[in-house]
Amino acid sequence: MLRSGGLNPTDPLSARRRGTTRLAAALAAGLALLAILGRSSDPAARAVPSGAPLSLGAALALTGNANLYGQDQRMGIALAGRWFEAKPHPRAVQLQLEDGASDEPSAISAFNLLIRRGVVALIGPTLSQQAFAADPIAQRQGVPVVAPSNTAKGIPQIGSFISRVSAQSSVIAPLSIDEALRRAPNTQRVAVFFAQDDAYSTAETAIFQKVLAARGLKPVSVQRTQLADNDFQNPITAALQQRPQLVVISAQAVDGGNLIRQLRELGYRGQIVVGNGLNTPNIYPICQRWCDGVLIAQAYSPELNTPINRTFRRLFAEANNGRIPGQIAAQAWTAYQVLFEAVQRLQARGGLAGVTLGEARRELMQELLAGHYDTPLGPIHFRPDGEVVQGRFYVAQVRMDASGRSGRFTLVRELELGEGKP
């Protein structure tokens, strides 16, 4: 009696219980229906129609805190799309863009969505962290991925379909340290700052510190910061007590910019070397005139004087009120370019005739890895495991204009490296 909740079958409590049971059953049935309907037929088995355009999917961080990078990437890809579409080419290519936001579940959703729509390859995701979550899915489904901005260790090793055009940080980072030491050979005391809750910065600082050790320098102070920090009084004063002559920073644009400004305000006059997270004009409004003189190693320099880069610069300036493109946009253009050219080559030699989508994807991956490309980054090609091989790297110095409002990354050294050793 008490168990069924009341004496009378129509009393409120038992009515409620019955209602709950009925509603729960209806819900379960609805979910089951969705589950069955949602079992997507994998488009990989479908044949690729010979006339139809091929789809390239791009999953970029258009929202969330990485959206500054994502917006730049969207710009780079859009410009590349327009440029390459305008020239005659054997196979039409169309781009599908999805928002991967700045967290892992969104990147996974974006990838899944694009794969189900039958794209032949994917560009993205924006953050290395997202790549670790989403790339395995593309790998399992046999979809080629070209990452425009993942620079953490281990990304191409996720699988045979995963590649990237963004050089690994371990290749780039040492260059700026060497430049700093070249300018001040007597440097003995080095202080290191890094954002310890950022996957990229943590990996990068390990590389910086390894390079320092290889040059016989042990840091006199290693300070850990957080991405969300904006007041660095504590770590800076602690580091400055050791009187460093060189400061190495691995962080992102806003926290890194603040760190630079406060270092200078608190009286530090030595050299500052920064990592790839600060490789963006977004630091100018933060550190303003204090940004001047900061050294950074780059995988892209707008001053590279090749026809493709001049074109890229011109198109970028036209679309952005005369702004100079940064590395992120250049790498995004490059990602589109390599896929586009690989598709055209594949089409030209008949590799896309009468194949299923799954086979097309496999062929495309092989074609991609085999090619050589003349891109805004310079000439690049791929290692068999999907890692980019880039011969040319740059060291730049930030030069702010008189008002301290804007500046540029001025090229100070161009380096040819041997076959991209990590």
Partner: protein, 287 residues
């Protein structure tokens, strides 16, 4: 539309909603769910990536992880719950927020949890999302059935009594501390097991999975769905997880929507979507 991947995320959302609901059914506003979710996920990630990297893992191993996660989160909840549940109202809410932050920073800083990168390459028990749908759906069905039985049980009615008036319940002889603790532990176990599934589903796990943001969104599930019945957070979780995906073009508005739900919900729809009155009507309906 709604593919299996999204469906999995919806079901996981419903489960987290249930986790927030359980202490609420005993009158406690506890926002600690993300902490136990993070613990469960981290445990699964660590266990699954022991030894050499492999792409797949047996379902049995995953069940083992779920059992261990349940034990770990239950233990933690007991440890933390005893001092914390003495607090009332606002104090309890703030204490649970503090717990979430402490756990998040701990996972971020402990040497073996992968730091900022987290742990990736977590092996998969299923090749297709459909497997996850079955696993999480089964878990949801089990939790739902248990909640339904709970409502009619002595424990359930004690919880309802405490919710109405804790002091009076104590006077009536209900062991309030024990009941509240049970609800808290149950909430932790559900969150922990959900974390295990989520870690495998997402391939990767890091400290950011259990942040204050998650506390806000899971709270929104309960507020929207209704806190008077276990079906409320389930419906709230399903809907509010699906909504941002269905409204993909809207993007940044998603969090504004969540905020509006939490802001206006208690003012205009104090009982959420699934109200007791609605359940009564459904119960009385004769086709």
């Amino acid at each position: 539309m709604i593919d299996n991947g999204l469906l999995v995320q919806m079901i996981l959302g419903a489960l987290l909603g249930l986790s927030v609901y359980l202490p609420m059914a005993a009158g406690q506003l506890s926002l600690a769910t993300p902490a136990f979710y993070a613990v469960g996920g981290t445990l699964a990630a660590l266990l699954a990536t022991q030894g050499s990297p492999q792409a797949s893992i047996s379902l049995g191993a995953v069940f083992g992880e779920m059992l261990l996660a349940a034990a770990l989160t239950a233990g933690l909840a007991l440890l933390v719950g005893l001092p914390v549940l003495r607090l009332r109202g606002i104090y309890l809410a703030i204490a649970t927020i503090a717990l979430v932050e402490i756990v998040r920073v701990a996972i971020l800083n402990l040497p073996f949890t992968g730091g900022a990168t987290g742990i990736f390459g977590i092996p998969q028990p299923f090749q297709q999302p459909f497997g996850y749908v079955l696993l999480s759906g089964g878990l949801l069905a089990l939790c739902g059935w248990l909640c339904q039985r709970l409502e009619a049980s002595r424990l359930g009615r004690s919880m309802a009594a405490i919710r109405d008036d804790e002091l009076a319940s104590r006077c009536m002889g209900i062991q309030t501390t024990r009941v509240k603790l049970t609800a808290f532990v149950a909430s932790a176990v559900v969150a922990g097991i959900t974390g295990v599934i989520a870690a495998h589903y997402l391939n990767t796990w890091n400290a950011r999975q259990g942040s204050f943001d998650v506390a806000i969104t899971t709270l929104a599930f309960v507020i929207l769905g209704g806190s008077r019945s276990w079906l409320g957070p389930v419906v709230g979780g399903l809907l509010l997880t699906a909504l941002p995906e269905l409204l993909r073009p809207v993007g940044d508005l998603r969090l504004v929507l969540f905020g509006l739900v939490i802001l206006l919900g208690p003012v205009f729809f104090p009982q959420g979507l699934i109200t007791p009155a609605l359940l009564e009507r459904i119960g009385r309906w004769k086709p």
